[in-house]
C-alpha cells in the first residue's frame, strides 16, 4: 500500500514532466499504466495479477513496446537529417533570421540586476541614436526615466539597481544574449556579433493552407517531399522531418538491385555461419560426450570441468583473445605458421579465411554447451535399447546412427534450433573479432564480408557513413525476426514429427 502511494507520487511527478514537454503519447501510457496498477492492488479479484504485474510492466515497457516501436520506425524515414517532427522543423525554420542588406547595427551595453534580468542600451553605429531593450520590448532611450543617470562628461549611463557588464564578463552572458529577439518595426533585433546587435528579418514563413515554406528573402517556395522541404528546382532545406514512408525500406531491401545484393550476401553468410557453427560445434561436442559417457572413465569430472572452461569465459573476453591470437602480424598462430611453414596467413583480412576463422572461434566457444546437452541426453537413453541392438547384431556405428542419434535428436533438436537462432544473432563475437571486416568494395550499404544481419543492422543504425538510418535498420530487424520466427516454427514442427515417429 505504501509502495503504491510512493509509485503514484512518482507517476504524478513524471506526468507533470510529460505535460510540460507535451509528450502526450507517453502520458497516456503512464496514466493507463498507473490506473491499472491501482486497480490491481485495490481489487480482490486481481490478486493473482499482483504477483505478475512487475514482470508485465517490464515486459510491456521494454520488450513489447520496443518491438511495436521497431515496426513503427521501420515504416518511417527516421534517420540523421530527419529526426524531428514536422512541427518542430517548421518552428526551427520560423526561428531563422537573416541580415538584410539595409540592416542597422547597434553597439550595445548590457546591464544586469540582482536577479540577472537584463537591460540593453543599444546605440546606432551610424546615427548614434539610442534605444533601450528590456523584457522583450524595444523603446527609444528615455533619458527622463527616473532610474537612469547619464554622466554628462562621457555620456556613460547608469541604471539604478543594475550594474553594467564590463569587459570580458560579456562572454559569460553571450549565450543568453543570443536567445533574445526584440520586435522592431516589422523586423527583429538580435545579437549579430559579440559586440553588436543588428536588425534582422525573418527568413522563412510557413503557410499551413498550401503546406509550403517560403524563403522570404528570395521568394522561393519549398514544398515537403519525402520529409524535406524542397524547392521546385530540387533545392532542399536541412533539416528534414520525420514522415511515414510505408513499406519503402522493405521494398528497397528486395527491389533495389545494389541493396538487394548486399542483403543477399549478408543473409547467405548469416545462414552459413549459423548452420556451420551449430553443425561443427555439435559434432565436436557430441563426439566428446560419447568419449566422456562412460561411468568407469577415470578423471571424468576433471575432464568435464576443464572442457567447460571455454563456455564459462564471457564471450567478449574470448573473442578479443582470439582476435589477438589470429592477428596477422604478431598473433601466436601466425608466428607458429611462420616457424613451421615459413609463411603467414591473412586470417582475418581475407574474406573467406575470416569467415572460416570466425566459425572456428565459434566452435571453440560453443562446443562445451553441445557436449553438456549431449551428455545429459545420452544418459537418458535406456541401456536396454543398446543391448537389444547388440543382440540384433548391430555394430558400433550402426548402433550410433540407428539408436543414439535419432533418440538424441528428439530431445536435442529444440536446443539446437535455439543455438541456431543464437548464432544467427551472435553480434558480440562477430563484432569483437572482425567488426564485419574486411570491407567489400562497391557495397551500397556498410556491409563487410563477415557482417551478419544483426551487425549489418547495427552499422546502418549507428555507424554508417550516411548517418544513422534508424528506419532502414528497423526494417532489417523486422526481417530478421520474421526469418527467425519462420525457421523456429519449421524447426519445431519438424521436431514434433520426429517425436511422433520415434514414440
Amino acid at each position: 500500500m505504501i509502495g503504491l502511494g510512493i509509485l503514484d507520487a512518482i507517476a504524478i511527478w513524471a506526468a507533470v514532466g510529460l505535460i510540460t514537454s507535451s509528450q502526450y503519447g507517453l502520458l497516456a501510457v503512464l496514466v493507463i499504466g498507473c490506473g491499472l496498477l491501482n486497480g490491481l492492488v485495490l481489487s480482490r479479484r486481481a490478486y493473482p495479477i499482483r504477483y505478475l504485474a512487475p514482470s508485465l510492466i517490464f515486459l510491456f515497457g521494454l520488450v513489447i513496446y520496443p518491438i511495436c516501436y521497431t515496426a513503427y520506425v521501420s515504416l518511417t524515414n527516421l534517420q540523421t537529417g530527419n529526426l524531428l517532427s514536422k512541427d518542430r522543423v517548421i518552428q526551427l525554420f520560423e526561428d531563422r533570421y537573416y541580415l538584410p542588406e539595409d540592416t542597422t547595427r547597434f553597439a550595445y551595453s548590457a546591464y544586469l540586476d540582482e536577479a540577472d534580468a537584463v537591460i540593453l542600451v543599444l546605440e546606432d553605429a551610424v546615427s548614434g541614436d539610442r534605444l533601450m531593450a528590456e523584457a522583450g520590448q524595444i523603446a527609444p532611450f528615455d533619458a527622463e526615466d527616473p532610474r537612469i543617470t547619464v554622466d554628462p562628461a562621457d555620456q556613460s549611463i547608469e541604471i539604478a539597481g543594475y550594474r553594467r557588464v564590463e569587459g570580458l564578463e560579456i562572454y559569460q552572458i553571450v549565450s543568453r544574449l543570443e536567445t533574445l529577439v526584440f520586435p522592431y518595426a516589422d523586423r527583429f533585433v538580435r545579437l549579430s556579433t559579440v559586440r553588436e546587435f543588428a536588425v534582422y528579418e525573418k527568413q522563412y514563413a510557413y503557410d499551413e493552407a498550401t503546406d509550403t515554406m517560403t524563403d522570404l528573402a528570395t521568394g522561393i517556395g519549398y514544398a515537403p517531399i519525402d520529409g524535406t522541404f524542397t524547392s521546385a528546382d530540387g533545392e532542399e532545406l536541412e533539416p528534414g522531418f520525420q514522415v511515414w514512408v510505408g513499406l519503402r525500406h522493405f521494398a528497397s531491401l528486395f527491389r533495389n538491385a545494389r541493396i538487394r545484393r548486399d542483403f543477399g550476401r549478408v543473409f547467405l553468410w548469416t545462414v552459413i555461419w549459423s548452420v556451420g557453427s551449430v553443425l561443427c560445434s555439435f559434432s565436436l561436442g557430441l563426439g566428446l560426450a560419447l568419449l566422456l559417457n562412460d561411468k568407469k572413465l577415470r578423471m571424468r569430472m576433471l575432464y568435464r570441468t576443464l572442457l567447460i572452461v571455454p563456455y564459462v569465459m564471457p564471450v567478449f573476453i574470448s573473442a578479443l583473445v582470439w582476435r589477438g591470437m589470429f592477428n596477422e602480424n604478431f598473433g601466436i598462430i601466425n608466428r607458429l605458421f611462420k616457424d613451421w611453414f615459413g609463411f603467414a596467413v591473412e586470417w582475418l583480412d581475407n574474406p573467406m579465411l575470416a569467415r572460416g576463422t570466425l566459425i572456428f572461434i565459434n566452435v571453440w566457444l560453443s562446443f562445451p554447451y553441445m557436449m553438456l546437452i549431449s551428455l545429459g541426453a545420452l544418459q537418458s537413453i535406456p541401456e536396454q535399447l543398446y543391448e537389444a541392438a547388440r543382440v540384433d547384431g548391430a555394430g558400433m556405428f550402426r548402433r550410433f546412427w540407428k539408436v543414439t542419434l535419432p533418440l538424441l535428436m528428439i530431445s536435442l533438436a529444440p536446443l539446437l534450433i535455439g543455438s541456431f537462432a543464437f548464432a544467427f544473432n551472435n553480434f558480440t563475437l562477430i563484432w569483437l573479432v572482425t567488426s564485419g571486416r574486411p570491407a567489400v568494395l562497391g557495397a551500397a550499404t556498410p556491409a563487410g564480408a563477415t557482417d551478419i544481419l544483426i551487425s549489418w543492422t547495427y552499422r546502418i543504425a549507428f555507424q554508417g557513413g550516411a548517418g544513422n538510418q534508424y528506419g532502414f535498420a528497423s526494417a532489417i530487424a523486422i526481417v530478421i525476426f520474421v526469418l527467425i520466427a519462420t525457421i523456429s516454427a519449421i524447426g519445431f514442427r519438424f521436431t514434433k514429427r520426429l517425436e511422433e515417429v520415434y514414440k
Binding site: R50, L62, Y69, P310, F330, L372, F427, I454
Partner: protein, 294 residues
C-alpha cells in the same frame, strides 16, 4: 582353451588401447579448450606488453600489467569492473524477484488469460531483445529527456532493459519448477492461518531455492557478458561496463596493449569462473534444462 585365452588377451589389449585412445583424444580436446586461456594467462604475467614478443613460458614473472591496468587513468578498468558487477548484480537479483512472483502466479492462481499469458511469455522471448536495439535506444533517449536517471548512458536504464529481457524465459523456467511442488503444502499452511503471501514466502520460497540460485547465477553471467545493448546505450568511458570497456581498450593498438589487456581478461574471466565452479552442477542443470526428459 588356448584359443579362448587368446581372444581374452586380444579383447583386453583392445580394451586398454581403447581406453588410452579415449584419454588421448580427451586430452587433445582439453588442450584445444585451454590453450587460449593459458596463453592469455601467460601474457598477463609476461614482462613484454607486446603481442609480438610474448612467450608461452615467461622468462620472468611480473605483475606490472596488473598494476598498469588498475592505475591507467585513461582506461578506468576498476570503474568498468565495478560498473559491471553493479549492473549484473542488480539485474540478477531483480530478475529473480520478478520472475519468482510471476512464475508463482502462473503456476498457482487460476485467472482469465493465464494460458494466453504463459504462451505470450514464451513467444515474446523468441524475439531477441537486441533486435529492438534501435527502438530501445530511441526510447531511452526520449525517457532521458524527462527522467535523466533512466536515460541513455545510465546504469539504471541499462538495468531496466536487461531486466525486461530476462523476464520472459526465466518466468517460464521458474513456473515449471513451481509446478513440481505439490499444492497441498501451501493449502495446509493456509489452513493453519497463513495468508497467501505468507504461504508463498514461508513455504514455497525455501522449496524453490535451487532454481532461484540457478536463475541468479545465469542471469548474472548473462548480463556480465552482454555487449550489444551496453554498447548502444552507454556512451561515456566512465559508465562503460567491462565488455564495452575492454573493446574500447583494444580498439586501437591492440598489439601494443596486449599485456594489460591480458591482465584485464584474466581478472574479468576470473570473476565468472569463481562464481561458476562452486555451482557447476546446479548451473549446468539449469542451462541444459529441457535436454533430458524425465
Amino acid at each position: 582353451m588356448i584359443r579362448r585365452l587368446r581372444t581374452d588377451t586380444v579383447y583386453r589389449i583392445r580394451h586398454i588401447l581403447g581406453r588410452c585412445v579415449r584419454h588421448l583424444l580427451l586430452w587433445i580436446a582439453i588442450a584445444f579448450a585451454l590453450f587460449p586461456v593459458l596463453w592469455i594467462a601467460s601474457a598477463s604475467i609476461n614482462p613484454t606488453s607486446s603481442l609480438a614478443t610474448q612467450r608461452f613460458i615467461p622468462e620472468q614473472v611480473t605483475l606490472d600489467h596488473y598494476r598498469t591496468l588498475f592505475t591507467d587513468p585513461n582506461y578506468p578498468f576498476v570503474t568498468w569492473l565495478l560498473n559491471t558487477l553493479k549492473v549484473s548484480g542488480i539485474t540478477a537479483v531483480g530478475a529473480v524477484i520478478l520472475c519468482t512472483l510471476a512464475g508463482y502466479s502462473f503456476s498457482r492462481f487460476h485467472f482469465r488469460g493465464r494460458r494466453v499469458g504463459v504462451l505470450a511469455m514464451l513467444l515474446v522471448q523468441m524475439f531477441p531483445q537486441m533486435l529492438a536495439m534501435v527502438a530501445i535506444f530511441l526510447l531511452l533517449r526520449s525517457i532521458g529527456d524527462w527522467v535523466p536517471a533512466f536515460g541513455l548512458n545510465t546504469h539504471l536504464g541499462l538495468i531496466m532493459v536487461y531486466l525486461a529481457g530476462a523476464v520472459g524465459f526465466n518466468t517460464w523456467l521458474i513456473k515449471g519448477y513451481f509446478d513440481t511442488i505439490p499444492r497441498s503444502l501451501e493449502e495446509s499452511a493456509m489452513i493453519d492461518g497463513a495468508t497467501p503471501f505468507q504461504a508463498f514466502v514461508r513455504i514455497m520460497l525455501p522449496l524453490v531455492r535451487p532454481i532461484l540460485a540457478v536463475i541468479l547465477i545465469i542471469q548474472f553471467m548473462a548480463s556480465y557478458a552482454e555487449f550489444i545493448l551496453a554498447s548502444v546505450l552507454l556512451r561515456g568511458t566512465d559508465t562503460y561496463t567491462l565488455s564495452v570497456g575492454l573493446r574500447f581498450f583494444t580498439e586501437q593498438a591492440m598489439s601494443r596493449r596486449w599485456g594489460p589487456f591480458a591482465a584485464g581478461a584474466i581478472v574479468g574471466g576470473f570473476v565468472i569462473l569463481l562464481l561458476f565452479l562452486p555451482f557447476q552442477r546446479l548451473i549446468v542443470s539449469g542451462l541444459t534444462g529441457g535436454a533430458v526428459k524425465e
